[in-house]
């Protein structure tokens, strides 16, 4: 396989990763709506909470590493080059500010609606992870569009 073939392969993986990030965000958020009070109730419990927590941890790991650790060294280096690392940093920063914004909303909400600590955590983590994934997918997708 030539170096150019490796670049083409990495390009294909990178496009797929952007699509998967978008899909993961939609599925993760959609899962919250489908699970409803089992995850977002005042006292969430059962398998739905465990599934939510595992999904959140996996998606946070993807945001921390760029995903695909099983891929070969050279292809991974191309997929996860400095542009992708910059996109991941931007996505995580945007997610951080979303978490801060949601934290303030939850802090100011008690006069109208009281939230448990678990509900607050679900809202902040879900919002932050989903927005981070959407930001990453958007930046990566735009980078692939030929100018």
């Amino acid at each position: 396989m030539t170096d150019t073939d490796l670049v083409e392969l990495a390009d294909s993986y990178s496009r797929r990763r952007a699509g998967l990030a978008l899909l993961a965000a939609v599925v993760f958020l959609g899962g919250q709506f489908l699970a409803g009070s089992r995850v977002f109730g005042a006292r969430p419990q059962g398998a739905a909470v465990t599934v939510w927590a595992i999904n959140a941890i996996i998606l946070l790991a993807v945001l921390a590493t760029g995903g695909g650790p099983w891929r070969g060294g050279r292809v991974r280096a191309l997929v996860h080059d400095e542009l992708s690392r910059a996109h991941l940093r931007t996505a995580v920063v945007v997610g951080y500010w979303v978490a801060m914004g949601l934290a303030f909303v939850l802090y100011l909400a008690p006069p109208f609606q009281a939230f448990s600590a678990q509900q607050a955590i679900v809202v902040m983590v879900t919002g932050s992870v989903v927005v981070s994934l959407l930001t990453f997918a958007g930046l990566e997708g735009r980078a692939h569009v030929d100018g």
């Binding site: 030539t2 170096d3 150019t4 490796l6 670049v7 083409e8 990495a10 390009d11 990178s14 280096a77 191309l78 997929v79 080059d81 400095e82 542009l83 992708s84 910059a86 990566e140 735009r142 980078a143 692939h144 569009v145 030929d146 100018g147």
Partner: protein, 68 residues
């Protein structure tokens, strides 16, 4: 003060008859990195700028210039 960067990467690459993928392979970055640098969306690190210049047999100053 935000400064604007002019880059001549697309022209230099075309002068060498290289595709974005071929230049990316020479430099060791992804094709989308070449694409975003050419479009002015992404400012590469010093290391990548030096590699680009070397791959195109030119200097960094010929590829990148601060707008007056």
């Amino acid at each position: 003060m935000a400064e604007r960067l002019i880059n001549r990467l697309r022209v230099a690459r075309a002068d060498h008859g290289l595709t974005q993928a071929e230049l990316a392979a020479r430099v060791g970055v992804s094709r989308k990195t070449i694409n975003t640098v050419e479009n002015g969306v992404f400012v590469p690190s010093t290391i990548v700028a030096l590699r680009l210049a070397k791959a195109l047999a030119t200097s960094v100053e010929r590829l990148f210039e601060l707008a007056e």
